[in-house]
Amino acid sequence: AETKSTFRLAWTIYVGWMPWDYGNASGIVKKWADKYDIDIEVVQVNDYVESINQYTAGGFDATVMTNMDALTIPAASGVDSTAVIIGDFSNGNDGVVLKGDKTLADIKGQNVNLVELSVSHYLLARALDSVSLTERDVRVVNTSDADLVAAFTTDDVTSVTTWNPLLSEITAMPNTSKVFDSSMVPGEIIDLLMINTKTLADNPKLAKALTGAWYEIMGTMQGSSQQAIDARTLMAEASGTDLAGYDAQLASTKMFFNAEDAVAFNNSADLINTMGKVAEFSFDHGLLGEGAADAKFIGIETPSGIYGDKQNIKLRFDPLYMQMAIDKKL
């Protein structure tokens, strides 16, 4: 057991994670850290994958990531992690776009530009499923997210799968059709705050401080009071857009502004089903590591049960701290 007093949280620019920037800039995180007599350094990392890699390598104690990346990077690397806060799920924030006036079935035979092995890839697989196609019917071209918008303007690119804000930039271009988005598979792309399970066990203060801060931020940014608008304006600018742009992104995100909703989501049986799909997709793409014999190689613990190997639980959904927020015990 190792108790510490300074911790590092990494976040990357994404609509559902901008609150951390606001919490840091407005002093809310510091306030909560002080309350638990710890220090929390909030670090912005531009490269999303790099932030998770650093977390996996031990460089951060807590990091934001999606449910799929939590499974394929830290968990698959043997780093036992716990989802302490479920911040939101994508409800239209990720989508498949084709050039021209098309429907999803037209995607057959096309090149699809996306960030390979990411949630976009997963979403595409789900989209193809819905029209009885498989990945073999398209050709996936790995394209870095930073360059996707520019790439879409070239004639070589006819279809992409991506997330916001790239998605809204792309759909704003003339002559495009969004043929599928995450609102058609709600609750499958989930944004989490992960904390290393061992660190968490030794230092529950960290989770308490972060959860407390998070729900204070949630309360502040919601609605149309001047304070909320100021908060969202700040988040908008930090993510490189303006208030209108940011609000549009928020609209396609199912934010859990209240801990109650998050806990309900966490405890529902849908979560374990979703994680099962994700695990199967990840296994099919070799993301669970060479040692994985099947999709159930890594155990995933949720309040409604365990998916996969009970001896090898590396990913946990634990509503304890969100529940404490509801109970005002923080």
Binding site: N46, E50, N53, Q54, G59, D145, V149, E169, G240, T241
Partner: protein
């Protein structure tokens, strides 16, 4: 008269100098107009007025979020990283290059290692770098150092080795020991080539800086371009790119002038460099 012998007059030369830039500007304006006519909210080739707006916004209006003038904040933090990275590389290059060049025992030990390192593209080991050096300022500076140091070391080693052996012999007949020869004969003579080599590697240093800032930073020229790239805000990106070019040009010019002033004996000899 043969084409190779016909030299433009001063005025003519100036006109020729400017010609390709004028052509580029015209092409840009035409292409931009055509795209904007088709889609007025096209962001790819912004009009000149959007550039002016963007520059005004980035350079002369405080950011709403932090109250800072973004262009200057970005410039200062990028320049800091760049100068630190290049400065440290120059120092390492000088010390190891001279030692490698002068001392056979050092050379035997370090030369193959330096060669091996120089063969590895730093971009390919970015993840490793970030894990070893963290995501702070250090890793960005280290990326520059790892990228350009092997080049500087090898160049300085070569320069040291190509000093006329007569000079080293003569210094020995004057009673100097290795350390004295290094300090008083070799070091001052490789400083001008060092400045030269630094000028040549500045381009790579900018590349590594931008790559590093794209992965982890909260300000910097490369960071801003990276951040804004996802919105395809070319009205900001292009001025930033030009600004980087201007900075690169200024740094090159300053280094050249420093070298000219500080080492007259070097430049008197070979005016062409």
């Amino acid at each position: 008269m043969r084409l190779m012998n016909s030299k433009p007059s001063r005025l003519m030369r100036l006109a020729l100098n400017l010609l390709p830039f004028v052509i580029l500007l015209i092409i840009y304006t035409l292409a931009s107009d055509a795209r904007l006519l088709e889609n007025p909210s096209d962001k790819l080739l912004p009009s000149w007025s959007s550039f002016a707006d963007a520059i005004q916004r980035m350079a002369f209006e405080p950011s709403k979020r932090t109250g800072e003038y973004l262009l200057w904040v970005d410039t200062i933090s990028s320049l800091q990283r760049l100068l630190l990275g290049v400065g440290i590389s120059a120092l390492i290059g000088l010390v190891i290059g001279v030692a490698n060049g002068m001392l056979p025992l050092f050379r035997a030990t370090l030369s193959p290692l330096v060669t091996a390192i120089s063969l590895i593209p730093p971009m390919a080991i970015l993840p490793i770098l970030f894990i070893v050096f963290g995501l702070g300022e250090l890793s960005k500076v280290m990326l520059i150092i790892i990228g350009i140091c092997p080049i500087l070391i090898r160049d300085l080693q070569l320069r040291t080795q190509s000093l006329p052996v007569e000079q080293l012999l003569k210094a020995q007949t004057l009673g100097a020991n290795t350390w004295q020869i290094m300090l008083r004969v070799v070091l001052p003579q490789v400083l001008p080539p060092l400045l030269n080599a630094v000028r040549l590697t500045l381009g790579s240093a900018w590349l590594f800086l931008i790559a590093g800032e794209a992965i982890a930073a909260t300000e910097g020229l490369g960071y801003r371009i990276f951040l804004i790239r996802r919105y395809l805000a070319m009205d900001v990106i292009l001025p930033y790119v030009l600004w980087i070019a201007v900075l690169a040009f200024l740094m090159d010019t300053i280094l050249r002038l420093i070298s000219k002033r500080a080492f007259p004996w070097y430049h008197g000899k070979r005016g062409e460099e």
